[in-house]
Symmetry: C2
Subunit: 489 residues, 2 copies
């Protein structure tokens, strides 16, 4: 078996020590690696590079496609960009993987039986940072969810389950409210789940699912989520497991992936052989499975579990009455090495499966090609800023003004304020702000609209002195409406 090239960065603070400890265990466990080392972090930042990573380092990452990264220190003061955000966005790391495991009774937790892996989408959702202040009162953020984005993350969750010997993948979403965006995620989940009959699939509305996860995490295995839900609930899961300091994570891209500890560089502990290398080590275990060395991952991970259960603990997890021996960073690593070949007795031993290697050119696409659905333009939502000093009942003043721009084959069918229909026939109790959506559709019921009609409509809005702030076209796709009705429409 040939070695796999990887890129390693030793980082700042406790980074070099915990990386040395981690690499020592990997080497003794027989990991088949060719290591390229790059410099990232504080020194690079302070040399004048605001990204914290030198241009030539990208070449190494693009060559090896695997990045084992120690924590770094971002210098105080302006102008320095988050290295993690830069790497994630630049390399398209679409999946964030975070195993959240409790090690009861060796590490304190309220949830003695917990072994949950959060698979979080990392490129889409409200995290794309597309925000607009639209009126004096209203700010907007776009939540964008794409089919390929959903396909990538859901497929990754199931592939992860297969490789890591997991039994179940659960999806959380809020598709009872967000029927289109979260509905797309749900539909893709159901499609892809059907390709994995050996893995149980289930799903929860995110509020109830989150409540169950926080109360009885022992009922969950792998949970796949969109970006925002995953951000919140991966923190919840890590915290209640009681093992934030021991947690590793993976950031997976289509071509390149990054593995690391969750914790930071802890400069005050640096150079004292005190730090716990477990977070980075468990990140490296994720890496070993990813590069298809499950034998090494299993050997090393089980030795680590035995070490924890033998009470050989670094200062951060040392507890009188539970721990047996307080050790430093390098002694902890050696304790793991000494247990290679052993399995834990009280904690559950891990098992990883080999997956048949597929040549790069033979790999199945992880997302589908674009469908060629027929798209028909049927109308437009024109949003305006308008205000007549009334929080209630103003729509009856506005409606007739907007109706004056009817014509040329399109007509106003509804005005809504933050989603609730207020004209025609609104209710006097609906609180309204200065942000109005005016929905125009073809005069003829069910008719289509030409792009030119929309441009002409916008011209009439302008000529009428109405302050258009944005538009959203309304489409049918293969005859199905691609837009929601207003509440009450």
């Amino acid at each position: 078996m040939t070695n796999v090239p990887i890129t390693v960065a030793h980082g700042d603070g406790i980074g070099p020590e915990i990386m040395a400890a981690t690499l020592h265990i990997l080497k003794e466990a027989g990991a088949r690696l060719d290591i390229e080392t790059i410099e990232i972090g504080e020194k690079v930042y302070l040399s004048g590079n605001t990204a914290g990573i030198a241009p030539e380092s990208w070449d190494s990452l693009r060559r090896t496609k695997v990045f084992l990264k120690a924590p770094i220190t971002t210098p105080q003061g302006g102008g320095f960009k988050s290295l993690n955000v830069t790497v994630r966005k630049t390399l398209g790391l679409y999946a964030n993987i975070r195993p959240c495991v409790s090690y009861h009774p060796f590490i304190k937790t309220k949830h003695p039986v917990m072994d949950v892996v959060i698979v979080r989408e990392n490129e889409e959702d409200t995290y794309a940072g597309i925000e607009h202040r639209q009126t004096r009162m209203v700010e907007q953020c776009l939540k964008l969810i794409s089919r390929p984005g959903c396909e990538k993350i859901v497929r990754y969750a199931f592939e992860y389950a297969v490789r890591n010997n997991r039994k179940k993948v659960t999806a959380f979403m809020k598709d009872n409210i967000m029927k289109q965006t979260d509905g797309l995620f749900h539909a893709v989940f159901d499609e892809i789940a059907a390709e994995y009959p050996g893995i149980e699939a289930d799903h929860w509305i995110v509020d109830i699912g989150a409540a169950k996860m926080a109360d009885t995490p022992e009922n969950f295995d792998v949970i796949v989520m969109q970006n925002l839900y995953g951000d919140i609930l991966s923190d919840v899961a890590a915290q209640i497991a009681g093992s934030v300091g021991l947690a590793g994570s993976a950031n997976i891209g289509e071509h390149i992936s990054m593995f690391e500890a969750i914790h930071g560089s802890a400069p005050r502990r640096a150079g004292q052989n005190m730090a716990n290398p477990s977070g980075l080590f468990l990140g490296a275990v994720l890496m070993l499975v990813h590069i298809n060395q499950p034998d090494v991952a299993e050997l090393a991970h089980n030795a680590w579990l035995k070490t924890i259960e033998d009470g050989v603990h670094t200062y951060d997890i040392f507890k009188d009455g539970v721990s047996r021996e307080k050790v430093g960073t390098s002694e902890f690593a050696q304790a793991v090495v000494d247990r290679l070949g052993q399995k834990p007795e009280k904690l559950k031993a891990v098992e990883y499966k080999a997956v048949e290697e597929v040549a790069e050119g033979d790999k199945k696409p992880i997302y589908s090609v674009r469908s060629s659905e027929k798209k028909e333009l049927v109308g437009v939502d024109v949003f305006i800023e308008w205000w007549n000093d009334k929080f209630y009942g103003a729509a009856d003043d506005l409606g007739p003004q907007v109706e004056k721009v009817n014509g040329n084959g399109v007509k106003l069918v509804m005005i809504s304020n933050r989603g609730t229909k207020v004209y025609p026939k609104g209710l006097p109790d609906t609180f309204c702000v200065d942000h109005w959506r005016c929905r125009f559709m073809a005069e003829q019921d069910g008719g289509t609209v030409e792009p030119q009609q929309i441009i002409d409509l916008l011209q009439r809005f302008k000529d009428a002195g109405l302050d258009v702030i944005k538009t959203e076209n309304l489409y049918y796709f293969d005859g199905k409406p691609g837009f929601a009705l207003g509440q009450g429409q």
Copy 2:
């Protein structure tokens, strides 16, 4: 002191029994109420009213402005609308209040010390239901956050804290990512917190805050959140408190408010004098405080706590070794009545403050009037659907095509795909879908743009055969940009 008129609906299933029990306690505790009764729910639905509430019932609600509502049964089958959604949207119930309390050791929980109140915004956020499918690949949902919406909910949280003798209000938000929408919520929180020097105010990024709340809820008091975060985390809080079946909630509007149990109508338990009336009763306690009868609320609530701690329990919370006496619905209510005037010994007794009544006309507005900031149009984001079968690197083909529509004083400054800049000078690793944002600004740096220039630009897009799907205008407000830069811009 005069009586306060309220509207009561007895509901379906166990509703009539638990309402009778609740009203019995209120009466004996000396609640000063004039009750109007309305019919809602199953019978009304099945009489052909798809909203589940008769038109004349709205008159009662608008007259009394206070609604004590038992759970109802929504019939199976299509066409019946959720009564709660209808009432909430119709009456502008902007605040959802949910106290989440543990009653250790009398009710099982992993969190023995927990007394958290979630104050959730209920009208805005991604829950406005404004969704558009924009391309063959991409669905969009709008997250709208308004200044008056933030002001209403944050002020309510602080007013609630004052009335309910609470010490601290915490805000959760994600303004490190959503700098404008969640940033507005944060700014309003800071402004309003300053008006309440007697109440401690703090805030957390929602992921970390959620993790802390799920792990150590004893460190929180009142938590105020936008709609989505509040939806998820109020379920988490209720669940981990162990008291979902005992929880009441309030839905507060500017003019009208509704009080209820969290649980449903449990038809299978109906008519057997079994059901626990505590959820509805605790909803009624929220009502008593709301209508400024804190003396009655305190008397009744403390008697209820004493009943729970005396081990007088209905079947649902009865536990051998903890409970002392298993009772039915009406006996439970009588046990509470028998304890009026007593306080709990192990559980913490409640205290409610009287608040000086302010005549309707003298009330301070709960949101500010609109600011008259200067708004300047400086550009537009034109979104297009475009696809050339390449998930990577396509922007270099698209960019020159879009640049051809430059002219008439505006020019392309950036193209981004789901928020990441891809043109000019994009990176080959950025995964792109068929949804592109083309940002146009004045040719002259820092210049303004006329609405006519945008209309003309859209005309040139159309004439160039580019498929515009939506627009977002770019504004400065009092000289400050109202839009975010693209990642990498």
